[in-house]
Symmetry: D2
Subunit: 308 residues, 4 copies
């Protein structure tokens, strides 16, 4: 779908997947990860090398505070005060955290506009109790299948793209071609902007969150044409920020999540994986990234594995 | 290692893996999940069917309160009060939970005795800040490989074993033989007692936690002989409770975690997986169960996938 | 206002204080605690003895889990890992708790019906962000003034009243007369049912929460006649439970909070205070019970002082 | 006790109150708030005007994140999803917060050095479970009595003192004399540096926490001479920061809390109170600031009342 529109609602109507998997569907494009595709993706495991894509969950994470904080993990037991039969000593910990603090999925209930979620589910079904429809628990049987990495930063020859730099369909094509990889139905598409590398270099949450390089609005058509199942990134919102249209915010979120039904994976770390892919020129792999089963949850922290 | 001892410290000395992967090792038997074994395990993915093994994370979980509680997830945003450019509405949630509340890994820092953790790391390294050694983050690149399910309850022909019923090496052998599956080095061994089925039938946290069927102390030798990498169960502590020796508690925890260096996976749900295995008689599969990367964390909630 | 109606909405209309302190008022009957009355109440401090009315905030509290839990306080620092100049060692702690877990105020935003809060403020102003009107922070300058204790259990000669036993206006009059104390405008009225004594004797959260003795619906008229400012109790909901009318719940909450604008103080401990009052026959005192200033909060934990 | 020493340990030995109220004492100088003094302080209530000294507990507080965060209050119920008999709608909220996030008491277990707390209680009694001795719950029956405000900023004629500016005994004397107020045994001494006014003007947590004006080390002798019971301030640590001795941190904390046994009250707001005091020239009042009863807690959030 080559689209030239930059009007979010017009674009949303073009790429919309509502009704495609039934009127009751809550899962969207992860429906494209069929058993056949999972089985085929298993063939991408060759050396058995495992790369983890989650960032550490601790006080040194990318949250500057305010709406979201870094996880606060506190010990409830460490053995210190325990006197138990046989000398048993045990330790436990608690965490308080936003489900959106680090590497995480945006469920299809994370974003809505004009009163409707993905598939027309009512927006006011996201209540104080969580998501009546499209909660993250509906993705529990996933997300595993073929992963593809597009290393935009490497292709540009930079450590990282700058905030506000948009990635267009043409560039996605060019990178895929240069890497010798294709992107197809049911794929988990990961693209690397270097934004994680920037955070690792600078450790500056304010700067990490102030904006970011990312997909342009028109990329939605490219993703829809290829029937990508999941989009993952090393920035925090997939899309370019500030966005392309003044007078609006997070437009690609709205189109991808609400219209197309695409689960997003954000704040991933592709540094080791990208190096390995560059090393042998193979940019696809088996991706296994199960969400935690938070009933009615809007998101989930994750630590996906890429297995080559 | 056929062992007849029921003395925990003697048994621990027999099965101990300290130094086997170097004096600095913090990962224990997950070292046995080599790339070769991961690659071989990929061959177990045939139909592409995915089974999730995590239980729901919500207020209806198995924690009766006290030391551990069920997760408390609260919404911080649901769009209700938002007036944003372009009509963007978003939702977020926070969670407060023990890392040991539902389906979860016990890291090797979860248990110690006689002043030492696995591999001789000092027990007082588990401080108010968490685990100086053997934190769950050290398992981040895993845990994926060959999974094997032994359905003890089905083999006995019961809905579930009762609390206090021990599973001995002889029974593990008998079930494996009856199922036509072998257990070998680097395997993630899952055994089903029906304890999850009991909870699903009764929804009684008090009863679920009051005791449980599980592995006998002598099973440690059987697991060590086969060089199992991870042990997972549908009960909450892997081992039979009350334990076999009066005057001691959680002895198999101590032997498996501290002496053998085995990461445990607890409170899993094997109901759908077991039915599928029974259906076609195939009890091994690809297991993908990454922990969240809680730096210095003692455990992690998980939702492992079994892919057949 | 002698009222014989048991119809909640009819009763609410009779005792309603809306508009009495202006259309914008968010404080209700605490407006009755005028500076003059505070100054007069200071004269009740004679011996300088201080009694604290808050219950301990810890894991042994009265919450059985579910909707509300007991406070979970976890240490973030205890000095253990610190190496600081000059030998400084410090300790800090975090708490996760419902603001309604123990001794606490119900703000006027805690309860509504028929779409309206106290003073006609819209019910949908209590959003996911908290109370737009009548938050607990609006009571920050209080609550201090004349306190009066009516010891119902002592007057009946029982350790505690049983769940479901209602306290009627006649009994309030009889107890006040027997104690030789009057109840008047701006008073903080505390009444003792023995329900705290029961918990201290039994330590059974389930039983504590299963019901309770408390004020009858008709007591609202008695409280309105006397222009009581605050009502406090040693049970968890002030009113008798199960309530008097089948087909309704927490009717006195609705009438007192929403119609009369009375801030409630619940789960207090009057044991020591009651003994002292009985000892010298003086049942009034200076009450100082500031809420914490949670902006837009629905309630606040408290530890009020009674000073004699 | 005029002392010229700036050596913390020497000074600590001079002002130490250990054993003064028995070897088991855990309350320190709040023992000085005798019933007689409470009764006498009641005479300071004349007009009945109430001033609250707590700062708001919300996301806009003075914590920049890191070790401590501002309180995170989340709604668990707001009536939205409820369909209850009789139309009852209720709202509840949870909070996650450091007990040291805003206006708060430092208990005597908050600080120790050389292995000992106040009164020689062992420092390692502050464990992962909290304070074995000197927990904030031991102050539950207080803190109420005579309060005195010394307005240092007003006396200097500045909006606020700058970070690093020390307040010496001479200045305390001068301000007291200029204000016509004396400071004596059992008093709750509050001193105003303008640091809260600075925060209200700038809303800059980083700047608020980067340092502060406050008491000099030698002030300890002055406080000890007068047998002050509690010291409260509008900065976040009572003492001047950076401190006077390079190579040490928080020395006055150590001397006041650990040696003298003084409970500190921090991050208070004296703005309205100071204006009222200046207006009629009366700088003493009745202070009622009960801590919450966190069992074994190291601190407590507070909202003390000053009643004139």
């Amino acid at each position: 779908m080559t689209t030239s529109t930059n009007d979010m609602r017009e674009l949303g109507a073009q790429v919309r997947n509502w009704g495609r998997w039934g009127d009751d569907d809550e899962r969207g494009t992860t429906n494209l990860i069929t058993p056949e595709r999972v089985a085929a993706a298993a063939g991408l495991i060759r050396t058995g090398e495992v790369f983890e894509l989650g960032i550490p969950l601790d006080a040194d994470g990318p949250q500057p505070g305010g709406t979201r904080i870094n996880p606060i993990r506190l010990m409830s037991e460490n053995g210190q005060e325990q006197v138990l039969p046989g000398g048993f000593k045990w330790a436990d910990d608690y965490v308080f955290m936003p489900l959106q603090a680090g590497s995480q999925y945006d469920s299809l209930s994370h974003v809505h506009y004009d009163g409707q979620l993905y598939n027309g589910h009512p927006g006011d079904g996201v209540t104080i109790k969580g998501a009546d429809k499209c909660g993250i628990h509906t993705q529990a049987k996933g997300i595993a299948g073929r992963g593809v990495l597009l290393d935009i930063a490497a292709h540009r020859g930079v450590d990282w793209l700058d905030a506000g730099e948009a990635i267009d369909p043409d560039e996605l094509d060019a990178v895929a071609q240069a890497q010798g990889v294709d992107v197809g139905p049911g794929d988990i598409l990961l693209f690397r902007t270097g934004w994680r590398a920037k955070f690792l270099a600078e450790h500056d949450p304010q700067s990490f969150m102030a904006g970011e390089p990312g997909l342009s609005l028109r990329s939605a058509g490219w993703l829809r044409d290829r029937d990508v199942a999941v989009v993952g990134s090393d920035n925090w919102a997939v899309e370019v920020l500030p966005g392309e249209n003044p007078g609006a915010v997070f437009e690609l979120h709205m189109v991808l999540i609400r219209d197309m039904g695409v689960t997003l994976a954000e704040m991933l770390d592709f540094e080791e994986l990208a190096a390995a892919c560059a090393d042998d020129g193979r940019y696809d792999f088996f991706f296994a990234g199960p969400p935690l089963k938070f009933t009615r949850g809007v998101g989930s922290p994750i630590n996906p594995l890429a297995i080559r």
